[in-house]
């Protein structure tokens, strides 16, 4: 058998294995010890010697014409080396992460509060801050378009030189009139979600310096080094070899670090270097970050849902409107994902949905963990509970009658081929003791006057990885050093999810060595080829396939050498515990390191590039019908709450979460994203809200924008991992990074409705809103 055949055979065998060597075993984050010692090098930790500061002059208006920019007073300041406006950009003034609609520096108009108009470069942050006040920008304020419904009116002022409606995304399944004619009951409601900030704890930061050969190196905090690199090259108007981008340790991503602001900050630092020839440092204050970082879209969702008397869904009509702010960012893709998922994970024969992504003068909304799914599931899951209430059946019962099972068709008529949702659903209902708790709390609420308890459920499906959102590929470079240590490098990034540890685990599994023999190198655009963006929970699923490809190639090359040495055929070899042996018999084996040194001596190339690209997905843009995603992750979340009916305060006591991860590659990493996503989602449900007043962000701070602390964490989160392997992911893995943030809003809102007897269809469920709902319900009762 040739080594290539051995590769294919072994890979198939490894993929289908039920027993793994390292996969699914607890492997600590490869870099955890560094972190507790305060040693990881974030961008701000690397800055030394003399350097200049760069900072943006930002618009105080949400919508205004720029009549003139006078930089002369600022330039005269001592210590100021340059003031850069759009006229000084050597290349293209285009910083849009995907759509070229957003200038790096405003030209004749500002379209949102905080938009950058000029850059001030100087020594000392105070000098720069002072000079910023001396840049005279003459604005002529324009009417502010505050709301997407206002923006959709034909006579509304245009934000850009185009229609304010960016996308009208459609789903047309079956015949909606016929569907509603079969309905015994119909429920119609409007749901509203708020602008939110992913809020990585480290703000945007970049440090750039000139190399001796004229190249500019930029170290920065980001998810997508190649997106940043490509844009900076364009903005500077230089050749691809003139810029190098390196990702430093990155203090959280959550989406914002994949969008607009990482491009801005890197471009600020690089432009300053280009202009002055000196190293430059740029960092956002928390206020700047919270103002201009791309947000989670505020959605308004109208649902009209019909069901039969026995609780079968027959028709679902939806209108979704997403406020994407002044520039599109990823809004056109967020609306697609939200619309694809608008009915929740249920089979509905007749669906009609219209999703609109709309420009306003609010700050930009783009990628945030979950990418439209939390908003879609919030509305769909509350709608399901409303139906159950109207039919007088339990929320679990209505779900049981409608969930996607093997053979079910989604809203896009895509056939579901695994039972992940059924399993997750069954597990949370059982583990949370749903029926018993539901009765207990209802009993208690009859006698308890102040504290009411509630339990709520929500289910999800999540189309995996990019699907319609882009080319779903990854490259992973793996080399084996002469001492037998293995080095993995990729353009995919680590920013806290532990996903790169999954790549280490996959490489170690295939080579049969301990994970500690494998190390990661920092993403560097001059050392690796593009691996696509680190978004859409794709690192383990897609990156894992590329890592497996690389490791399998290396294994094939080593197997050939080992077979010669051990006098066997390559397919008889077992790679395990750092030994390569015939059929697992260690007496007929050779140590992995010894084998590597023998292979090196023979000149075998032990450096490979692994690659994977997911099959393209297809759907009809007129009807939304087709298979937009290659596979789906499923999940279920039960939340238990206490509501103080005198203050309106909601406390989440317990969460039971089951997610179908397809295959658990990295159990500690999975647990980490489940716990972390649950609490982030809890914050979305209860407190987090970016407030725009006439387009101005009025709470851009961590005391104005409230994220959960240790005190808000529930007493217990019960995580349940389900493994219903997916079609494309490495070893059957499904996307998990974003998923746990999707359901808390829905599940908590349903639990609150159970506690107080009335649905609150607008988030966040802050005390005044809860209290108002309670008082209104009381008034109605009287």
């Amino acid at each position: 058998m040739s080594s290539e055949e051995e590769i294919l055979k072994r890979f198939a065998a490894i993929e289908q294995a039920r027993e793994f060597y390292i996969i699914g075993k607890k492997v600590s984050r490869v870099d955890a010890l560094d972190a507790v010692l305060g040693r990881p090098m974030y961008t701000g930790d690397l800055v030394t010697g003399d350097f200049l500061f760069v900072k943006a002059v930002r618009s105080p208006y949400a919508h205004a014409l720029i009549k003139g920019i006078d930089i002369s007073r600022a330039l005269k300041q001592r210590g100021i080396e340059a003031v850069i406006t759009h006229r000084d950009i050597p290349g293209e003034n285009d910083a849009g992460s995907l759509i070229p609609d957003r200038p790096l520096l405003a030209v004749d108009k500002v379209r949102h509060y905080g938009e950058a108009v000029a850059l001030v470069v100087g020594s000392g942050i105070e000098t720069v801050e002072e000079a910023i006040r001396l840049v005279d920008v003459e604005y002529e304020p324009l009417p502010v378009v505050k709301d997407p419904f206002e923006a959709m009116k034909p006579d509304a002022p245009r934000i850009q030189n185009r229609d304010n409606i960016v996308t009208h995304f459609k789903i047309r399944k079956g015949n909606i009139e016929e569907g509603f004619s079969k309905a015994d009951i119909i429920v119609e409601n409007t749901y509203k979600t708020q602008f939110m900030d992913g809020l990585p704890l480290e703000t945007e930061v970049a440090y750039a310096f000139p190399e001796k050969d004229g190249r500019i190196t930029c170290i920065s905090s980001m998810q997508n080094p190649f997106d940043v690199y490509n844009k900076v090259v364009k903005i500077l108007g230089v050749g691809p070899e003139d810029v190098r981008v390196i990702q430093a340790a990155t203090g959280g991503g959550f989406g914002p670090k994949s969008d607009e602001t990482p491009i801005d900050i890197a471009a600020y630092a690089c432009l300053a270097v280009k202009k002055t020839g000196k190293p430059a440092f740029a960092v956002f204050t928390r206020e700047e970050a919270t103002t201009v970082q791309s947000k989670r879209h505020a959605f308004t969702i109208r649902h009209k849902t019909g069901a039969t008397r026995d609780g079968k869904l027959v028709a679902w009509k939806s209108e979704l409107v997403a406020d994407t702010g002044a520039y599109i960012s990823k809004g056109h893709l967020v609306i697609a994902r939200a619309t694809f998922h608008c009915t929740g994970p249920y089979e509905v024969p007749h669906v009609w949905a219209d999703g609109y992504c709309v420009l306003t003068n609010n700050t930009i909304a783009g990628s945030t963990r979950g990418f439209g799914a939390p908003q879609a599931h919030f509305a769909a899951e509350l709608q399901m509970d409303a139906l159950a209430k109207k039919l007088g059946i339990d929320p679990v019962e209505i779900r049981a009658r409608n969930i996607l099972r093997p053979g079910s068709l989604t809203a896009t008529s895509q056939r579901i081929d695994d039972a992940g949702l059924e399993i997750c659903f069954g597990k949370v209902v059982e583990t949370a003791r749903w029926h018993q708790k539901r009765r207990e709390y209802e009993e208690l609420n009859r006698t308890s006057s102040r504290i009411k308890k509630g339990i709520g459920i929500a289910l999800l499906y999540h189309g995996n990885t990019l699907g319609p959102e882009g080319e779903d590929f990854a490259t992973v470079h793996v080399r084996i050093e002469e001492d037998g240590s293995v080095v993995v490098q990729t353009g995919l990034t680590e920013y806290g999810t532990g996903a790169l540890t999954s790549l280490v685990i996959i490489v170690a599994e295939i080579l049969g060595i301990p994970a500690s023999w494998v190390r990661m190198e920092r993403p560097d655009t001059s050392a690796v080829t593009s691996s696509g963006p680190t978004v859409a929970s794709r690192t383990t699923v897609i990156g894992g396939r590329a890592a497996a490809d690389a490791a399998t190639q290396l294994r094939g090359r080593l197997a050939e050498v080992a077979a010669g040495l051990l006098g066997c055929s390559p397919d008889e070899l077992v790679f395990k515990d750092g030994v390569v042996s015939v059929g697992g018999d260690r007496r007929r084996g050779i140590g992995f390191r010894e084998l590597v040194s023998e292979a090196s001596r023979r000149g075998v190339e032990l450096r490979v590039r692994g690659y994977y690209i997911a099959p393209p997905t297809r759907w009809d843009p007129e009807t939304g019908q087709g298979a937009p995603y290659n596979q789906y992750t499923f999940g279920a979340l039960v939340s238990e709450v206490e509501v103080d009916t005198e203050t309106g305060l909601v406390v989440v006591k317990r969460m039971t979460a089951a997610y179908d991860a397809g295959r658990v590659i990295n159990p500690l990493g999975l647990l980490a994203v489940i716990e972390g996503g649950s609490i982030q989602g809890l914050g979305h449900a209860l407190t987090e809200e970016i407030i725009h007043e006439n387009g101005v962000v009025v709470n851009p701070s961590l005391h104005g924008y409230i994220i959960p602390t240790a005190s808000e964490a529930p007493e217990w989160i019960e995580p349940i991992a389900v493994e219903s392997p997916g079609r494309i992911g490495a070893f059957g893995a499904k996307a998990m990074g974003e998923i746990p943030v999707v359901l808390p809003m829905a599940s908590i809102a349903n639990a609150v409705a159970h506690a107080i007897g009335v649905f609150i269809r607008e988030t966040p469920l802050k005390p005044e809103r809860v209290l108002k709902a309670i008082r209104e319900a009381e008034r109605k009762e009287r």
């Binding site: 870099d31 972190a35 507790v36 305060g38 959280g252 532990g498 980490a672 240790a710 005190s711 964490a713």
Partner: protein, 158 residues
């Protein structure tokens, strides 16, 4: 951030067990001095407003936000940073507990949380879960959801 002010003042204090003297502008915060003058970058800047706790250090054994602590308040006192927890190059038990419990994700909040934990355990070696939550309220973590952090702290309580 480094400030351009020309006026500097001398401050003496004990840093991680050793006496140090620095000359910095009087308006400098302890965080600026640690990061920009002494190049101890383990202490992080997350907001500059005392909201997030990433900059937490010990001042005479008590947890403070170094971003809100002026150098004049540090004069003659003792400061411990995350770098100062190492004993004979081995990690402190709190550091080990964080690593072993998987209480680390992006790592940016980690040094501050470790220092807040250290301060808690020095004053209260056997805190209840509620006391731990209360003591860590001033330290925001966006990745972990706090579950593993609580586990780490409870692991080292007496």
């Amino acid at each position: 951030m480094r400030r351009g002010s020309a006026v500097v003042k001398r401050f003496s204090f004990v840093l991680n067990g050793k006496p140090v003297e620095v000359e910095v502008p009087p308006a400098y915060t302890l965080l600026e001095t640690l990061r920009n003058v002494l190049h101890l970058t383990g202490t992080k800047d997350g907001c500059g407003d005392g909201d997030c706790g990433a900059c937490t250090v010990l001042l005479d054994g008590r947890a403070v936000h170094s971003c809100l602590t002026l150098m004049a308040q540090v004069e003659g006192r003792s400061v411990t940073t995350v770098e100062g927890l190492l004993r004979d190059s081995s990690p402190d038990e709190v550091q080990s507990a964080y690593a072993e419990s998987g209480a680390v994700q992006c790592g940016y909040c980690t040094p501050g949380l470790i220092m807040a934990t250290k301060a808690l355990l020095m004053s209260n070696p056997n805190p209840s879960v509620e006391e731990v939550k209360e003591a860590l309220r001033g330290n925001l973590c966006r990745c972990t959801g706090y579950a593993k952090i609580l586990e780490a702290v409870l692991r080292v309580r007496r």
